[in-house]
Amino acid sequence: MNVAVRKAATQVDAGALKQRAAQLRGKIIDMSHAAQAAHLASSLSCADVLTAAYWHVLNINPEQPKDPLRDRFILSKGHAAAALYAVLAMKGYFPIAELETYCQDGGRLAEHPPANLLPGVEAATGSLGHGLPLGLGMALSGRIKGEAFRVFALLSDGENNEGSVWEAAMFGAAQKLENVCVIIDYNKWQATARSNETLMLAPLREKWAAFGWDAHEIDGHDVGALAEAMQNIPNGSGKPVALIAHTVKGKGVSFMEDDNNWHYRAPTAEEVVKSHKELGLT
């Protein structure tokens, strides 16, 4: 595939995407168990966004991870690294077997995505509030060089606490960066508390709209709707787009859903089996 040619909007196969999302969740749970690593629930809540992006929307070629014309996807909520690693391995950026090295000594898959180390990782994130400014710089470099790629940045809701997010929001709007799309994984929890009881995010869509973005609320687990909304960037509004994706932290596994203990907890072997059963993977 020549990535220089913009992929035309194509029919979304929601059924296939759903199946892919379930497989992705299974991988993430396996990795969390093997490494006993944190941030499982945060990874599960954005699994559908990543599925829609990587299996339908993004104009990418894993064999040419540095193609200057590729769409950029920045996991600004870098603590969901396990989800990104699983996606990149499933897409063929590196062998699936390498997922077993997640958080292991000497590996490339640290708890947050590294810089200039792993193919497909566009930016090293983990400190919140960095991904969007980086993405805006990438989008402007595309404008300057005449490269019409798009930039997608996935932010957590807690990440909206960071002032740099709002600096970037105002800058992106002033620059009319209509090829930029922010997706906010609005799972209503941050690390240790309810998001809106920590810093008042609500009304979040209206905030982004007031900051000059074409802002929409969307079901963050409706892979079909996510794929439709993201593939239409730029959408003709002349503004950067913000998708406020309503999600459930720990989505896909009944005993993890909306239970913030799973921000830090890792599953036992027994819980892994139960999770896979619920996801229809066994």
């Binding site: 930016a123 400014p133 993405g135 710089g137 402007l140 470099s141 600096e167 800058f171």
Partner: protein, 307 residues
């Protein structure tokens, strides 16, 4: 220095279409020529330095050569994490240019002073730290930084400082100190905008029969270790002079080198700002006098140390 920077940037921008200028809402009219010639490559990023630095890193990661510019504390400590994580961790070739370093903007008060920036920035991996001694060194440093494939920090004074070099510096190299005047007794290693003051101190020493070598040690990181080795071997006294805190600055870097290289350091003294905010109003000359950094004070202390 800042006018030389804007002029040189415009010239470089004419030749190199990768160069992009990012300003933190500063430099009123300073970049008019650049803006007129390259409107698509000039961005006033507003008073939002964290975002500006992240944007610069994103551009650099995609093949451009952004220059991020504003007053020293705002383009260093205000957005230090963006410099560390976005720029340096990604090895993004961003050139950070700071105006008003040290006490150049003394009159504006401690919010605008910058006597800690070298300390912070030189401790970050992948970063180059340059403090040019005059307008020609600013031009040369900017040219050299555009040829680098890595982050560079250029720490400038303000405008109207005495020009030391007679013209463009043909053999300027990052990490290579420049001997301004040869001397026999004492070696004065100056970094940044202290250079004219140090030259005056050398004159005062000359009047007392002391022959001083004056060096523009424009690059603090990487250190010109060969120059240090030669200087500490040859001179009765070596001094570092900077408009920066004694903690973590140029003199501290030389101290670290002395210790690590097991070089005897009995003949070493450091001039810099104390571990305190300078709260009084007054211009740079007054501040230097109060902090023991004016030419006659430097000369007096050198004489004392020699005897």
């Amino acid at each position: 220095m800042r006018n030389a920077f804007a002029d040189e940037l415009t010239k470089l921008g004419d030749q190199d279409s990768r160069i992009v200028m990012l300003s933190g809402d500063i430099g009123n009219r300073l970049f008019d020529k650049f803006k007129a010639k390259h409107p698509a490559r000039f961005f006033n990023c507003g008073v939002a330095e964290a975002n500006m630095m992240g944007v610069a890193a994103g551009m650099a990661m995609n093949g451009l050569r952004p220059v991020a510019y504003t007053i020293t504390p705002f383009v260093t400590t205000r957005c230090l994490e963006q410099i560390r994580t976005d720029v340096c961790y990604h090895e993004a070739p961003v050139t950070i240019v700071a105006v008003g370093a040290g006490l150049a903007y003394s009159g504006l008060g401690p919010t605008h002073h910058a006597c800690e920036d070298i300390s912070f920035l030189r401790s970050i991996p992948n970063m180059v730290v340059i403090a040019p001694g005059d307008a020609f060194e600013v031009r040369a440093a900017l040219q050299a930084s555009m040829k680098q494939d890595r982050p560079v920090y250029i720490r400038m004074g303000k405008k109207g400082e005495p020009v030391v070099h007679k013209g463009p510096i043909a053999d300027f190299a990052i990490g290579k100190a420049i001997t301004i005047t040869e001397g026999k007794d004492v070696c004065l290693l100056s970094t940044g905008n202290m250079l004219p003051e140090v030259i005056e101190a050398a004159h005062k020493l000359g009047e007392k029969g002391i022959s001083a070598q004056v060096v523009s040690f424009h690059t603090v990181k990487p250190l010109d270790e060969a120059y240090l080795k030669q200087a500490f071997g040859k001179f009765k006294l070596v001094a570092t002079i900077e408009e920066h805190s004694l903690i973590g600055g140029f003199g501290a870097a030389v101290s670290e080198w002395l210790s690590d290289s097991k070089t005897p350091n009995q003949n070493f003294i450091r001039f810099g700002t104390p571990d305190a905010f300078f709260k009084k109003s007054g211009e740079q000359e007054y501040a230097r006098e109060m902090l023991g950094l004016s030419a006659h004070q430097i000369a007096d202390k050198i004489i004392l140390a020699l005897h």
